[in-house]
Assembly symmetry: C2
C-alpha cells in the first residue's frame, strides 16, 4: 500500500508514503541514520542491513522529548559536517516524532537544505508526525516554536516496528487516528468503533486511512494557511496541558486525547456536537485506556496560556472544533466566558 503526497510547490517534490514491510534501500550518495538509543537497541542492525550507500553513518541520540532541543540539533549538524555530507547526501530519521522532527529540521538547514527520509517506528509518527513536513525543536518558550516546513523524500511505515512499542505509546498513536476520523471521516470513525486496532490487519488499514486523510489535507495546504490547522483539533488544549505538566506526565497523544475532550465540551456548548456524540468519542478514546480528564488548577491561568501558543495570531485564539462526527469548524471569535464555562463544566 502506498499514499502519494501531492504538493503544489515546485521545490517541495511530491513523495510517497509506503506502508508495508521495509525492503532494501539503495543509495548512490552518503547516508546518515539519525536514531535514539531505545530504537537503536531494538532495530538498528536490522535497518543497517537493509541499506546500501556510498557511505553509511549512524548517529544515536538520547531518547526523550527533553532532548528535542538546540543541543541535539547541533549534534546532528556537527555529525553532518564531520562526515562531510554534501548537498546530495540523505538523512534517515529512524524513530518517533522527536527524531523525525529534529532530523527534518537539521536536513532543512544543513547547507540550506538536503533530502531526508522518514522511517517512523512509533504509531504516532507513522500516522501523523512523519507525513506533512512539519519539523522543529522545543525551547524554553514552548514546543516546536523553532522549525521549518520541509518535506521528506519518502516515508516508510512498517507496522513490524510497532510490535516492540509499549502499549501506552501505541494508544497515544491511536489518539491521533481518532482525531482524524472525528474531524474528517464519519465512516472511518464508525469503522474504528467496530474494529480492534491491536489486530495487525486492522492497524495497517487504520494507518493507511489516517495517512490518506493527512496527505489530502497537506496537499491542499502545505504551510497551514487554512484547512491544515484542522489537524490541530485537540492540540490547542493539549499544548497547555503538556506545558503545565512539563511534558513529563502525559505522552503527546495522551494530552491530545484530553484536549479532544475539552474541545468537545466547547463544541457541545456551542451546539456543534450532541451529548451522545461526545460520549461516543470519549468511549472510543477510553477503549484504548487514553486519559480523558485533566484537573485544571486555575481556569484563568489555563486560558491565558493559550496566548503563548504559536497558533495565535494578533491575540485571537482559533479553536478547532468537531461539527458532528466527521466534520469540523474553525472559530476565532468565541468569547472567553464561553470557553471558561465549557472547561468549568468538564472540571466539575
Amino acid at each position: 500500500m502506498h499514499v502519494n503526497v501531492v504538493l503544489n510547490k515546485t521545490t517541495s517534490k511530491d513523495y510517497s508514503v509506503i506502508i508495508g514491510p521495509l525492503e532494501k534501500l539503495v543509495f548512490e550518495t552518503k547516508v546518515m541514520i539519525i536514531t535514539n538509543s531505545t530504537v537503536a537497541a531494538l532495530h538498528l542492525s536490522n535497518l543497517q542491513a537493509r541499506i546500501e550507500a556510498k557511505e553509511l553513518h549512524t548517529l544515536i541520540l538520547p531518547d526523550g522529548e527533553m532532548y528535542k532541543n538546540f543541543e541535539s540539533l547541533n549534534l546532528i549538524l556537527n555529525a553532518c559536517f564531520e562526515h562531510r555530507l554534501d548537498r546530495k547526501s540523505i538523512l534517515i530519521a529512524f524513530g518517533g516524532g522527536v527524531i523525525g522532527d529534529m532530523t527534518g529540521f537539521a536536513a532543512s538547514i544543513y547547507q540550506r537544505g538536503i533530502d531526508f527520509i522518514q522511517i517512523p517506528t512509533t504509531l504516532l509518527a507513522q500516522v501523523d508526525a512523519s507525513v506533512g513536513g512539519k519539523t522543529g525543536i522545543n525551547n524554553d518558550y514552548g514546543k516546536n516554536l523553532i522549525g521549518s516546513f520541509w518535506q521528506p523524500r519518502a516515508v516508510y511505515c512498517d507496522s513490524a516496528f510497532l510490535k516492540t512499542l509499549p502499549k501506552r505509546e501505541f494508544a497515544a498513536g491511536v489518539a491521533e487516528i481518532i482525531k482524524m476520523a472525528v474531524t474528517f471521516d464519519k465512516a472511518f470513525f464508525e469503522w474504528l468503533e467496530s474494529h480492534d486496532l491491536f489486530d495487525e490487519d486492522n492497524i495497517k488499514m487504520a494507518i493507511h486511512k489516517s495517512i490518506s486523510i493527512k496527505a489530502d489535507v497537506v496537499s491542499q495546504d502545505e504551510t497551514e494557511q487554512g484547512i491544515r490547522a484542522v489537524l490541530n483539533y485537540g492540540h490547542t488544549f493539549a499544548h497547555v496541558i503538556e506545558n503545565q505538566t512539563h511534558y513529563t506526565t502525559y505522552l503527546h497523544g495522551e494530552a491530545v486525547a484530553i484536549g479532544i475532550m475539552m474541545a468537545n465540551a466547547l463544541a457541545q456548548k456551542l451546539g456543534l456536537l450532541s451529548h451522545e456524540e461526545v460520549l461516543r468519542i470519549q468511549a472510543l478514546l477510553e477503549r484504548y485506556a487514553l486519559p480523558t480528564h485533566y484537573a485544571i488548577d486555575d481556569l484563568e491561568t489555563f486560558y491565558d496560556a493559550f496566548f503563548l501558543d504559536k497558533k495565535s495570531a494578533n491575540d485571537k485564539i482559533t479553536f478547532i472544533l468537531a461539527k458532528g462526527i466527521g466534520g469540523h469548524v474553525m472559530r476565532n471569535n468565541i468569547p472567553k466566558e464561553t470557553v471558561l464555562e465549557a472547561l468549568k463544566d468538564l472540571n466539575a
Copy 2:
C-alpha cells in the same frame, strides 16, 4: 525604480526591490528591526521615524562577520519570543549582508517561518546579498553552511545609506557588480568601463542593473539547481582565501575580486578568456582599489580546501568561469593539474 522578483513556488511569493529614497512604511502587525551597532548609530532613528506599526521593537547586535553565528541567531529568536511576535509579525533586516543573512534565517525558522523585509545599508547587500533569499550563519566548518532559502517580502535599496559607507566597503560592493557584468552582460561591463560609480546617478543605475540581472537568475533557479550557481563566479576561490585568512584580512567583496582573477587565470588557460579580456577585468577591479592578487602559501593545501566548500557534491568541484566578457560556463571536469598550473602562473 523597482525590480520584480518573480518566483515559481506558490509559497515563495513574488516580491519587489524598490530602488530610491525610503518612504513611510506602515504595518498593522508587530515589527522588529534587527540591526548592528554601527548602522544603529548612523541611521536607526531615521528608520524608526519612518515606520508605523502595531508595536515596533529593535534589536541591536554587535557589528562584524565574527558575530554571524548561532549565538546571534539565538539572540534574534529570543527577542522574537520575548516580544511575543506571532506568525503575522515582520522582521526588518537593517544593515549589511551579515544582518540580512541572519535576520532572514531567523525569520525562516521562527514558528516555522514569518515574513521579513530587507533594508540593506551597504552596496554589497544592495546589489547582491539582499536579493535572492539565501540566508545563513557561519560555524567552525565554514561560511553559510547552515541556513535556508527564504525570500524577503520586499527589499528597499536607498542609496542615501551609501554616503556613510567607508570607501573600502563601497569597493567591495563594486566587485559583485563587476562579477555580474562579466558573466551575464557585456554591454553593462562596457558601461562600467566608461562610468564612475562614485557618481550618485551612476551608482543608482548600476544597482538597478545588478539587481535586474540577479532577479532574473533567481527567478529561473531559486534554489541553485543550475544557473544560479553562476553567481558564485569567483566565490569558490574567495571562500578558500577568506578561510585561510580567518575572515579578517579581506572584506568578502575583496576576496571575490581576487577569486575572479583566479577564475580568469583558469579560464584563460582553457581558452575561454583572452589575455586582453583578463586585463580589462583586472583594470576595472583595480580602478576601485580592489585587491587582485593573493600569495598562495601551498598550492596543494589551497586545492584541498575546495572540498570543504559546500558547492562540491560527490567529490567534484564545479568551477564557474567567464566565457568571453558577458558569458559563462560551469565545469566540473577540470583536471587538478590544470587548476594548479593556472594558480601557479598567477602566483609567479
